[in-house]
């Protein structure tokens, strides 16, 4: 089983959430019903306005979409509505609210930004948005944002331009500035408003990590002024009544602000005041900028322009007078939007959205009871992400000790959420009641799906499959969590191969977002639909690939790791390899990656794939791995691999025991391909070439899944957007040239595949249009 424990760079901490969701649909606007009690306003499709006494209630509602997005249409209707409110003397204050309980405004319309051809166009968009928000900020009539659901990006910009914010204390209510995750910066003034509102350090934290902030935390930070608890059922559905209540409360505050019985000024705590005081000192501020910039440099290796730009813009704006020209700032936004990093990250975002859908449709039967075989790291991890989604889960192992460890892992995983206060201890307990630990096959007759996570040995897999098939009901699906054994080989002993499928999870399961699902020729559509549905329920980004040795992810990793071994043999030490690969954008160094995966597992996989693919997977000597295994240098799990791992020691040192091994397998380096850049390219071109071959052979059905799989499963540099996006931006021709160069030195391992050659021959051909 492959494991990539990633100290993920700050850019990808939050990326699973749907922060921006695009919508294309202001076409059907005429059909949209309007809620206007007063015929004061013309018919609109995205924004409506209701006058309640002296308070105007402005409602956002992007038609035919789950979320509201700041599209051109919505922005222009919003501007019109606000102008009418300012002109209407009977209105003393306003409330901004959404008609959708789950989304205030989820962000700017990404398609709108992508549709811009030049940075000037984007700059203009940003300028218009900022102008409108400035008007709201300076509005003589107080404006209250009533927030329920996602309030992200442009949505947060709108909210913080208001005079007061009230949010529902719901798990669905999240606030944040995820622009950085898309390689952008908050484009309508958050860089200026956020530091004033929550202080510089917290503002940087929000803008540079893009993290989602829950309502209660937002209240503590000073990002919102009041919380409204969600209501239970009354005379109508809870969500509907809650948003109605939110509106009532907001109207009360809007009125209070207008007649000055409520003050928008927050009483700041002592710590906040001290921080503010310190931040007012130019010396302290400079220090903060410096620290943050160093941290960002260290984490991003300078590969991501957006965070640095955010720091720069924030600094400029805080130093500048309000009235000073903000033009350079708008320009920065425009420039960022057209960078290749932004394109790569936005591409990943779209890919994620796509991989959150079930292309096989709804399965005939919903999986309600899941059985997991093997309570090891993977098995327990799979159980953990299942029980907290309400799946009844049986965790079966063969030994009490192993089972105990696995159950403890699930408990610990959930308990850490209790410590972080994202779960109550009661919720934890009630989630855990979904888990049954056992040593026998009791209850398997009720299982809808069995996922096996037993040892990677075809004989053991065959044994459990036969055992399981004897006890499960006819409709039950058998899924194998293997990282390299072909599923068809496992299914060979099955009585009903149409119910057998591969579900390749990545370790640690609760943190890694990817799930690779593998279908064989015999796997039925419904089985695939069911597996994808379970994966999505578990919160995974799902790619579906065809069966074959190493499927997609393991297969791409194979040649790259073989190359790592060769580089090691050529006398480059592991630390240097790590530095070179992280400098390219990999979140985990290549040598460390082997330690994390486990040298024994890597050996196993390398042997299997070597047998299947022959010379192409050669390069490094597999004997080196074998000797490591023999010496017990199995990687992190054994405490020793290329590095020495000690509990509580952060700076790990090289394992001196490796010196002798490396010396024994030393081969002469080829000076013509040994610059840092060449080493990087040797690793990456083999990866990309293999990925292209997977597409060529039909293992992958499209480049999008290939990119998502590589980035979320293997840590392919997000700033490059995945192997296919990278081939597009670097150029297929240039890639082929590099491959040819290394081929000349090392031979067929670098022979470019036909698909790559085709793309190289016609420059207009791109994997992503």
């Amino acid at each position: 089983m492959l494991a990539v424990i990633s100290p993920r760079p700050l850019l990808f901490r939050v990326s699973v959430k749907l922060f921006y969701v695009s919508s294309f649909s202001f076409l059907k606007s005429t059909e949209h019903k309007l809620i206007t009690r007063f015929c004061l306003f013309p018919a609109r499709s995205h924004v409506s306005c209701d006058i309640k006494g002296d308070v105007a209630v402005v409602r956002f509602n992007t038609p035919n979409s789950k979320v509201n997005t700041l599209s051109r249409q919505l922005s222009s209707e919003f501007t019109d509505v606000m102008n009418e409110i300012w002109a209407n003397e009977a209105v003393k204050s306003a409330v901004l609210i959404s008609s959708k309980p789950g989304s205030f405004i989820a962000g700017a319309d990404i398609d709108m930004i992508e549709a811009c051809k030049t940075s000037q166009e984007v700059t203009q968009l940003s300028q218009e948005g900022q102008k409108m928000l400035e008007k709201i900020e300076q509005s003589p009539k107080p404006v209250v944002a009533a927030i329920s659901g996602s309030c992200l990006g442009g949505g947060l910009e709108v909210a913080i331009a208001c005079h007061y914010r009230i949010a529902t204390k719901d798990k669905k209510t999240i606030l944040g500035t995820p622009e950085v995750l898309l390689g952008l910066l908050p484009g309508a003034g958050a860089t200026q408003r956020l530091p004033k509102m929550v202080g510089l350090p917290a503002a940087f934290d929000m803008m540079l990590t893009g993290r989602n902030i829950r309502a209660d935390r937002a209240k503590k930070m000073g990002l919102v002024d009041q919380l409204v608890d969600p209501l239970g059922p009354g005379m109508k559905a809870p969500e509907a009544r809650t948003i109605e209540y939110l509106e009532e409360v907001a109207i009360g505050f809007a009125r209070g602000l207008a007649n000055r019985t409520v003050s928008a000024k927050r009483s700041k705590g002592l710590i906040q005041r001290i921080t503010d005081y310190a931040m007012a000192l130019p010396f302290v501020r400079r220090q903060v900028y410096k620290t943050v910039e160093n941290k960002v440099q260290k984490q991003t290796k300078g590969l991501y322009p957006a965070p640095l730009k955010i720091i720069e813009v924030t600094r400029q704006l805080l130093n500048a007078k309000l009235s000073a020209s903000l033009f350079p700032f708008f320009q920065s936004f425009g420039q960022l939007a057209v960078t290749k990093e932004a394109k790569a990250l936005i591409g990943l975002y779209h890919g994620q959205v796509l991989c959150k859908k079930n292309k096989f449709g709804t399965p005939q039967r919903e999986v309600k009871t899941l059985a997991v075989l093997g309570a090891g790291l993977m098995g327990a991890g799979i159980a953990q992400v299942s029980v907290d989604k309400g799946l009844k889960t049986i965790l079966k192992d063969t030994a009490q000790q192993g089972l105990d460890r696995g159950q403890q892992q699930v408990f610990k995983g959930l308990n850490s959420k209790v410590k972080k206060k994202s779960l109550t201890s009661f919720e934890r307990d009630s989630i855990l009641s979904n888990l049954t630990g056992q040593l026998d096959y009791k209850g398997f007759e009720k299982a809808d799906m069995v996922i096996e996570a037993v040892f990677e040995d075809i004989n053991i897999k065959h044994k459990v499959l036969k055992e399981v098939e004897a006890v499960i009901p006819a409709h039950c699906i058998f899924a194998s969590n293997t990282s390299a054994l072909p599923i068809s080989q496992i299914a060979a002993v099955s009585k009903r191969p149409e119910k057998v499928i591969g579900m390749h999870y990545f370790s640690p399961v609760d943190r890694m977002q990817l799930l690779e699902i593998i279908t064989t020729d015999k796997t039925s559509q419904d089985t695939a639909a069911s597996a994808v549905a379970v994966g999505l329920k578990q919160g995974k980004v799902v790619i579906v690939v065809k069966d074959g040795p190493g499927f997609y992810t393991t297969r791409c990793l194979g040649p790259m790791l073989a190359e790592v071994v060769r580089v090691l043999q050529e006398g480059i030490d592991p630390k240097k390899i790590d530095a070179i690969s992280t400098a390219f954008g990999f979140p985990v160094g290549a040598a460390t990656l082997i330690d994390e995966v486990g040298v024994d597992v890597a050996t196993h996989v390398a042997e299997d794939l070597g047998k299947a693919f022959g010379e192409r997977f050669g390069g490094g000597s597999i004997e080196l791995f074998k000797l490591m295994v023999e010496k017990g240098f199995l990687g992190r799990k054994a405490g020793k691999g290329f590095y020495v791992y000690q509990e509580g020691v952060k700076n790990r040192s090289l394992n001196s025991g490796m010196d002798e091994i490396l010396a024994r397998f030393k081969v002469p380096a080829k000076p013509e391909v040994c610059t840092d850049e060449d080493i990087q390219m040797r690793l990456v071109t083999r990866f990309v070439n293999e990925a292209a071959m997977c597409l060529q052979e039909g293992i992958l059905s499209n480049p999008v899944e290939g990119d998502i799989g590589a980035v979320f499963g293997l840590g392919f540099p997000p700033c490059l957007g995945g192997p296919f996006r990278y081939a597009d931006s670097y150029g297929a021709k240039q890639l082929v040239d590099k491959l040819r160069k290394y081929e000349a030195v090392y031979g067929s391992q670098f022979t470019p595949c036909q698909l790559l050659l085709d793309y190289a021959n016609s420059p207009s051909k791109k994997f992503h249009q």
Partner: protein, 468 residues
């Protein structure tokens, strides 16, 4: 009574004008509408009667009972019952008492109180707990024992002393202290003591909060009121109604269940001290107590922390008659219900009412007297609205249609927990005996008692007037 809210808005006038003989109106209604059933007696099931019920005056906590212990209050109620009924002590087969916040020294408070009240030491006693319906549970436990033929005479009751609650050392401190007990040498003891840090001394306070959700009951009540769209004004009006009616009942000598209590070292307490009819203006000035600053539940429209105890004497009908008693009422069908402790914490009566009516074969119109526990004005109003909502019945309770809201003129006419006070475990007996007294006074046959309880539970029981 379809539009209950309208009634409530003008309820001010409604109950003021009820100087007009409400009782007569009710009696009229009762005669106009024939009952679905002449009696709830069932063949093969023993008739169980409540012979008498008493309570010591319910006092705001921190007043005259402040220095007593829970079993002192329970003892006073038990003695009051003995005095009033003159029941021979050795006739009592069993004693069941309810309590919520347990005094650890007297965890079986029933036994301690019984011994001190002069019951026979041969009469076993046990204590039950079920939050605000603890004494309901005590009574129905007694009913079960009599129905099963195990006992003929059971005393049931409930006690709560909110003036003193157990405040504990922190877990760390407790652990240190318990380990200290086992330490043998001085060295071991000193080393343990040296580990004590200032935070060990932070005490653990009990909270009126749900363990499962960590939400205080008042907060939940505020959300409940909001969910049903009940305004602050409506809640204050209802609370004022409760206080006004309680005052009238107290002044009119209707609260017959109250027995005087001579508190050691203090004067004899003769009446409840929480009844304080105020004005809408004064109540309007109060700030929200739980959902700040915009909530609607205030100190004035919530029940207050109360000390008190109650007790009833239950018998099989034959036994009562054989002993020459004239019972007050039959205890008939009862139900316990439970639901979501977060969003429906206080909706017990809504769930219990249709269920108990169905069980008894009665309809809402058959009920002459409603005695509902008033935890919060907002909670009562939410329950009334929920009972009158088809949406709620269909979507939350899985019923075809609503049961309908009780008519307000039959509802808690002698005040309720909001005004009389609410010693958690003592309220249930008060509800039953008040229903019996009201049936007699107002001329009805069936009374419906209902209450909500922490944990998202509820209870309802039908009380049938004993034929006069």
């Amino acid at each position: 009574m379809a539009c209950f809210i309208l009634n409530l808005r003008c309820s001010d006038t409604l109950w003021r004008s009820s100087k007009l003989p409400t009782a007569t109106i009710c009696a009229l209604l009762a005669t106009v509408q024939p009952k679905s059933k002449k009696t709830l007696a069932k063949s093969g099931v023993k008739n169980i009667v409540v012979v008498e019920g008493v309570r010591i005056p319910f006092l705001q906590s921190g007043t005259s009972y402040a220095d007593l212990m829970p079993h002192d209050l329970a003892r006073a109620a038990l003695q009051g019952l003995l005095n009033r009924t003159s029941v021979p002590r050795d006739v009592v087969d069993y004693i069941v008492y309810g309590t919520v916040i347990q005094e650890v020294k007297t965890s079986n408070v029933a036994r301690e109180a019984a011994l001190g009240a002069g019951f026979s030491d041969k009469t076993p006693a046990h204590t039950v707990t079920m939050a605000c319906i603890s004494s309901n549970q005590a009574m129905t436990t007694g009913v079960g024992m009599i129905a099963a033929g195990q006992c003929d005479v059971v005393v049931a009751g409930g006690v709560e002393l909110m003036s003193d609650v157990p405040i504990r050392h922190s877990r760390k401190m407790r652990k240190t202290m318990l380990t200290l007990n086992r330490a043998k040498t001085l060295g071991q003891k000193l080393s343990l003591i040296s580990k004590i840090r200032p935070d060990y001394f932070a005490p653990e306070l009990p909270a009126v909060a749900e363990f499962s959700t960590s939400e205080t009951m008042g907060h939940s009540a505020d959300r409940l009121a909001a969910a049903f769209g009940i305004s602050r004004l409506e809640q204050d009006e209802y609370a004022l109604r409760s206080h006004t009616l309680a005052k009238k009942a107290q002044d009119g000598g209707l609260l017959l269940d109250v027995v005087p209590f001579k508190v050691p070292g203090k004067d004899t307490v003769t009446k409840d001290n929480g009844i304080r009819p105020s004005s809408m203006e004064q109540m309007g000035k109060l700030k929200p107590a739980f959902v700040k600053p915009y909530g609607t539940v205030t100190a004035a429209n919530s029940s207050f922390l109360t000390d008190g105890a109650s007790a009833v004497l239950l018998m099989s009908e034959e036994k009562a008659l054989a002993m020459g008693y004239k019972p007050k009422a039959y205890l008939r069908d009862f139900v316990y219900v439970s639901q979501d402790p977060k969003d429906q914490l206080l909706l017990g009566p809504t769930y219990a009412t249709p269920k108990v009516l169905e069980k008894a074969g009665l309809t809402m119109a058959d009920i002459d007297v409603f005695e509902f526990h008033e935890a919060f004005a907002g909670q009562i109003l939410a329950n009334l609205k929920a009972m009158d909502s088809d949406w709620f019945a269909q979507n939350c309770m899985g019923r075809k249609s609503k049961v309908g809201a009780p008519p307000l003129e039959k509802f808690n006419n002698w005040g309720g927990s909001l005004s009389l006070g609410h010693p958690f475990a003592a309220t249930g007996c008060r509800l039953v005996i008040t229903a019996a007294h009201r049936l007699k006074k107002e001329g009805g046959q069936y009374g419906l008692v209902a209450a909500c309880a922490a944990g998202g539970q509820g209870h309802a029981m039908i009380v049938e007037l004993y034929p006069q």
